[in-house]
C-alpha cells in the first residue's frame, strides 16, 4: 500500500537535511572555531530552514496535523532531552576528571569559546537526534 509522506514528515526530512548540511561542515571540516562562525552557522540554519519549509508548505496541499503528529513530536523531544542530559553528564564528568588530574590546558582567553563550542555541539547533536527519532517514529508509525 502506498504511503506518501505527510506534511510533517516532509518537514522533518527537510530539517534533518538542513541540519546535516550546515552543522556537518562546521564540526567536521572547520579546524578553528570562532564566535563569528557559530553566529554564521545559526544564521545559515535559520535561512535554510525558512526556505525549505516555505517550499514544502507551497508544494503540500494538505497540511493537516493530528494527534499522532503530536505524539511523535513528544517522542522526539524526549529522545533529544535524554541525549543532551547524557552529553551534559559525560561532558561535566570529563571536565571534572581533567581538572582534577591536571590534564586540562586551556588558554584562558579561549575558555569561553571552547565552552560555547562544546555546549553548542551538544545542542546540535540533541537536535539531530530529536529529528531523527521523529522520522524513525513516523516510519514505524508508533
Amino acid at each position: 500500500m502506498a504511503t506518501s509522506l505527510s506534511y510533517r514528515e516532509k518537514s522533518l526530512y527537510a530539517s534533518l537535511a538542513a541540519e546535516l548540511l550546515v552543522y556537518g561542515p562546521y564540526f567536521f571540516l572547520h579546524q578553528q572555531n570562532s564566535v563569528n562562525k557559530v553566529a554564521g552557522m545559526i544564521v545559515a540554519i535559520i535561512a535554510l530552514q525558512a526556505v525549505l519549509q516555505l517550499i514544502i508548505a507551497i508544494i503540500t496541499r494538505n497540511r493537516v496535523t493530528d494527534e499522532r503528529d503530536h505524539l511523535i513530536e513528544l517522542r522526539g523531544y524526549r529522545a533529544g532531552y535524554l541525549t543532551i542530559a547524557t552529553l551534559m553528564v559525560v561532558g561535566l564528568g570529563m571536565l571534572w576528571f581533567h581538572a582534577t588530574f591536571g590534564q586540562l590546558h586551556l588558554d584562558s582567553r579561549m575558555v569561553g569559546l571552547h565552552f560555547l563550542s562544546v555546549f553548542f555541539g551538544m545542542l546540535v547533536v540533541a537536535d539531530i537526534v530529536k529529528t531523527a527519532a521523529q522520522i524513525i517514529a513516523y516510519r514505524r508509525t508508533l
Binding site: S4, S6, Y7, V64, T65, E67, T141, L142
Partner: protein, 71 residues
C-alpha cells in the same frame, strides 16, 4: 503488547469510502488512518468515537481490545 484491533478497512470498503475521505471527516492525516488500519497506532478515544460515528457503527463493532495481541 496488548493491541486495539479494528475493522475500519472492511467497514470503509463496504461504504466505498477512501482513506482520504475518512481522514478528512475525522480530522486526521491519511497516514494516520493507514497506521490505525494496520494496527500500528491506537487512536485516542475521541478519534475512535469519531471513526465509529462516521462509519455509522458502534465503537465495539469498529474496535476490539486484544490483550494477548502483538503489533
Amino acid at each position: 503488547m496488548p493491541v486495539i484491533r479494528n475493522q475500519i478497512r472492511e467497514l470503509r470498503a463496504m461504504r466505498e469510502m477512501t482513506q482520504q475521505e475518512l481522514a478528512d471527516r475525522i480530522g486526521v492525516t491519511r497516514q494516520t488512518v493507514i497506521a490505525i488500519e494496520q494496527d500500528k497506532y491506537s487512536p485516542s478515544l475521541e478519534t475512535a468515537f469519531k471513526v465509529a460515528l462516521v462509519l455509522g457503527v458502534s465503537l465495539e463493532q469498529c474496535f476490539q481490545y486484544d490483550p494477548h495481541g502483538k503489533r
